[in-house]
Structures are given as C-alpha cells and as structure tokens.
C-alpha cells in the first residue's frame, strides 16, 4: 500500500488514492468524536457516520477502479488492507449485494477508548462510527454507488470488552443522496516565499526523514510510533465532521456557533498536547530532530517541522520569541484547502484546528516543559491549564478572506 502514497513535496501534502491523508493520534480522534457525539440536540453520530461513508467512498472507489476488479472478494480484500494500512484495525468482511457482516478487530477507536478511559468508565454505546461509515462505503464501492448501503454497529468491544466489534450492512431502503469528497480541495498554486526562520532546525530535512519512514498498520492494523497510536486519516473526514458539526449547532441556535468553534480549537490543543508531547519524548524525536536543536525556540521549530511532515500542509514558525510569543504561517493548510473548495461563498477564517494547535505548541514547550519529559496524562493537562499564563492564539491572516496564506499568533493570556 505504501506505493500508493503520493507526497506533494512543495505543498507538504500526502495523498492516498487521490484523498489527502494526515496523521493524528487517538487522543485527538477520540476528543473530536466525543465533541461531536455528545450534544443531544444535534445528530452527531449521523454526522460522523455519513461523513465517513462519503469520504471513504471516494477513496475506495478510486482504489477499486485502479485495481480494475469487479470481484467482490477482491474488493473486500482491498478495503480491509486499506483500513489496516491507515491504522484503524483489522476487518473481516463477508457478504453479497444483499448486505453483509464486517468484523472489526483491534479497533482504533474502541481500543483507544479502552486504553484511555476503560479503567474508569463503562461504556454503554458503540463507538466505531467511522468504521460504520467505512463499512457502508465499502459496500457502496463494491456493489453500488455512494449512499446505496447503510450500516449499524451491533456489538462493540468498548462496550462488551470482547474479541471484536460487529457491523451489519444492508441495502438502503431508499438510496441516500450524499456528497462526495472534494478530494485535494483548493490547493495553493505554488508555495509562497516565506522569510527564513532563525533556527538550526532544517524543516526540509525533518520532512524527508519522516516521509521516509514506512508508517503503516502492523498485523493488528495499528500504527504505533512516536509513543502514540497513530492513524493516517483522510483529512476531509476531519474537515467534513468539524464544519458539519458547526453548521448543525448554528441551525439549532446561532449563538452556539462560537461554543462549537471553541471546542474544535480545544481539539487542536488536545492534539498538540498529547501528540506532540509524546513525539517530543520519543526515540524518533531524539534521533531525527533533537540533534538539530540548539535553543528552546528550536523546540517550536522542531514541532512545526514534524507537523509539516504529517500531511497537514506547509506549517512554519516564522518568528519565535522565547517563552513569549510566536508567529506561524501555514501555506496550504488542509482545513483551508477543504473549506475553500466546499464553501467558496464564505470568507471568514475557518482553520479552527490550527487556531488551537498553534498556542498549544507554545504551551507544551514552555508551560509543559516537555524537554524535561513529564508524564503526559489528564492530571498533568488539567494542572497545566488551570493555572495562569496559558498561551492563547488567533488567526490573523486567512486564505478564506483573500490573504495569500493563513497566519497565526500565540501569546500569553
């Protein structure tokens, strides 16, 4: 499967069967899903499942077209290989055009949830909304068209603590009209010339080192690297669920929109705290990035050098003042690429994930003192952000409003 990954070096994007794919870890995946799932005045589960069906259909349709197969068994096999390659777990798929069954082993979401919360909480509802959407999408791609199948998780290991999850797929009573992925979205024409940052970190060298790593699901369909459990997620799944979530809140009450935006920003904060905190404590970091680091501000640059290797776009710190503030440019952020393609009539800054991620990088380096290798758990997170002096951020330039790139600042509150 690695051969189907395409790296767009100038834009620092990665695609897989024509879909932009990006790395995130289960802390972010679980937090974002819970954010969307929790409010009972919107149908968050439907947002998650439908978005997964739409985005994965585009990916699977392309993959099966390229494989030039109409054999359902080959289609099932390819779909299972892709699911495992991306780090979501292992699938066993059986069925016909009348529907079928998908067994899910080592579910990223379910095992991630059990690892994070399983000792404190008993879950009563299934968690694998992405896999449910994926299951419907794979039957769509093998037997029909987008929206022709529906799926339901009837058993989930996050609830049962059993061996595998179970998803049932049936033809939709009435095919649903769903919206395909915008694929790569509205890309930047070419990278903008950015000022050379004052750092000893060589962004391009870090990019090449990380792009050379064959990061893919192991025999369990999980990607364990950088001290975290990674997934290589289609970026447009994140984009679609976050913007649909905000729209659903707005339709309930326009005043909820700001709350929703804050929650997406918080997901970016959670992501950087856990993902980058763990990355910066890993052997991988110590081998590939730490040798370049000469000052505390280089930790910020190192973080963005890694971020720009994850398929997120061209993230670069252009100014970092030690322990005070920073300015970060994102030239071709994955959120903006999607938003510009999907909402061409809207002109407000919409990179909510990045708005949370940029101050979080300052928080993990300067407040969290990640160089001292703290234990990155919920207690540490709470302690860190309940005290004063937390970094906050804002998006000061945005492609959505006509600027040449998106730009963010982080500063002490």
């Amino acid at each position: 499967m690695l051969e189907h990954l395409q790296v767009d070096r100038p834009r620092k994007l990665v695609s897989f069967w024509g879909e932009p794919v990006i790395f995130h870890c289960h802390h972010y995946n679980l937090f974002l899903q819970q954010t969307i799932e929790d409010p009972d005045w919107i149908d968050g589960i439907s947002i998650l499942r439908t978005s997964a069906q739409e985005i994965f259909y585009s990916l699977l349709h392309e993959a099966l077209t390229q494989h030039r197969t109409r054999d359902p068994q080959v289609g099932f096999q390819v779909a299972a290989e892709i699911f495992a390659f991306l780090g979501f777990g292992r699938l066993e798929i059986t069925g016909t055009d009348q529907g079928g069954t998908v067994k899910l082993y080592h579910s990223h979401y379910a095992e991630g949830w059990l690892g994070k919360y399983g000792e404190q909480v008993n879950r009563t509802k299934p968690i694998d909304h992405l896999a449910v959407g994926y299951a419907a999408a794979l039957f769509d791609a093998v037997f029909g068209e987008l929206g022709h199948y529906v799926a339901e998780e009837t058993s989930c290991i996050a609830v049962t603590r059993g061996e595998h999850c179970l998803i049932q797929v049936v033809p939709a009573a009435v095919p649903r009209r769903l919206t395909p992925s915008p694929r790569m979205g509205q890309l930047i024409d070419q990278p903008q010339p950015l000022p050379d940052p004052k750092t000893s970190v060589d962004y391009d060298a870090v990019n090449e080192a990380l792009w050379s790593l064959p990061l893919m699901g192991d025999e369990t369909g999980q990607i364990r690297a950088f001290n975290v459990l990674l997934t290589r997620m289609p970026a447009n799944f994140y984009n679609r669920i976050q913007y649909r979530f905000l729209e659903a809140l707005r339709q309930v009450n326009p005043e909820l929109l700001g709350v929703g935006q804050d929650l997406i920003r918080e997901s970016g904060h959670v992501c950087v705290f856990y993902t980058f905190g763990n990355i910066m404590e890993s052997v991988e970091w110590e081998s590939l990035v730490l040798p370049m680091i000469q000052s505390d501000t280089d930790w910020i640059h190192g973080g963005y050098a890694v971020a720009s290797s994850l398929g997120w776009g061209r993230w670069q710190a252009v100014e970092v003042t030690s322990n005070q503030d920073c300015r970060v440019v994102i030239d071709g952020n994955y959120e903006a690429n999607y938003f510009l393609a999907s909402h061409p009539d809207r002109h407000e800054p919409a990179c909510y994930f990045a708005q949370g991620a940029v101050p979080a990088m300052m928080n993990i380096v300067y407040n969290g003192k990640v160089a001292d290798k703290p234990t990155l758990d919920q207690a540490f997170y709470n302690r860190l952000f309940q005290r004063g002096g937390v970094f906050q951020g804002s998006e000061v330039k945005a492609r959505e409003k006509g600027d040449p790139w998106c730009e963010f600042t982080a500063y002490r509150a």
């Binding site: 289960h26 095992e111 025999e219 364990r224 001290n227 975290v228 459990l229 052997v283």
Partner: protein
C-alpha cells in the same frame, strides 16, 4: 573454589535500567536506558543475534523481531521495545539483557 564475578557477570546479573510505560491504546512500551549509544554495527549484530531484520532511517533504527519492534537510535542511549504480546515482554527483555550486556561490555572493556 569459584572465581570472583567478572565485570561481564555483574553486567548480566544486574538489571538493565528500564521504564515500563502505558502507551496509547492498549499497548505497553519498555524504554531500556543504556550507558552509551549503540553503533550501527552493534545494532546489526544485535538484530542478527535476536533473529530479525533492521532498517535504518538516518539516526533512527527499527529492529523488527518476531515478538515486536525495537526502536533504537545512533544518537540517544535508549531503546524502546514494543512487544506484540505483553506476555513475551519478559522473555524479550531477558534475551536483550544478555545480548546487550555482551555488546556493551566488550566495547567498554576495550
């Protein structure tokens, strides 16, 4: 009458300093803290002894063994062991201890 323990004996019998930590998901990782960095040749030898394959990405090395992956580095004195099955962890660390002790002792001894 038995001879006094050699430096190698004490290296083998004293436990390698290690940290066992919960990782994301349901996995465990074991960090093994070494007195010095291993060289590429030593890591190749370690892989050969343990029966696996190793791949190099700059200063980062992956040792893929039947029981799991060891992430190693040419510039940091630490190995991270991620056993596929937690029940194999004890056996893997024991074998590692003996092999590493020999590698490290030989180097230290000159």
């Amino acid at each position: 009458m038995s001879s006094p323990p050699t430096e190698l004996d004490s290296f083998i019998t004293s436990e390698l300093p290690r940290t066992r930590r919960r990782e994301c998901g349901l996995g465990w990782a074991v960090d093994i803290h070494l007195p010095r960095c291993l060289t590429w040749a030593e890591l190749e030898q370690l892989t050969q002894t343990l029966g696996g394959s190793c791949r190099r990405f700059g200063n980062l090395i992956w040792l893929d063994l039947a029981g799991g992956r060891i992430t190693a580095s040419l510039v940091t004195p630490r190995l991270t062991l991620r056993p596929r099955d937690p029940r194999q962890e004890g056996q893997m660390t024991t074998v590692l201890q003996v092999t590493l002790s020999r590698l490290l002792f030989r180097k230290i001894g000159g």
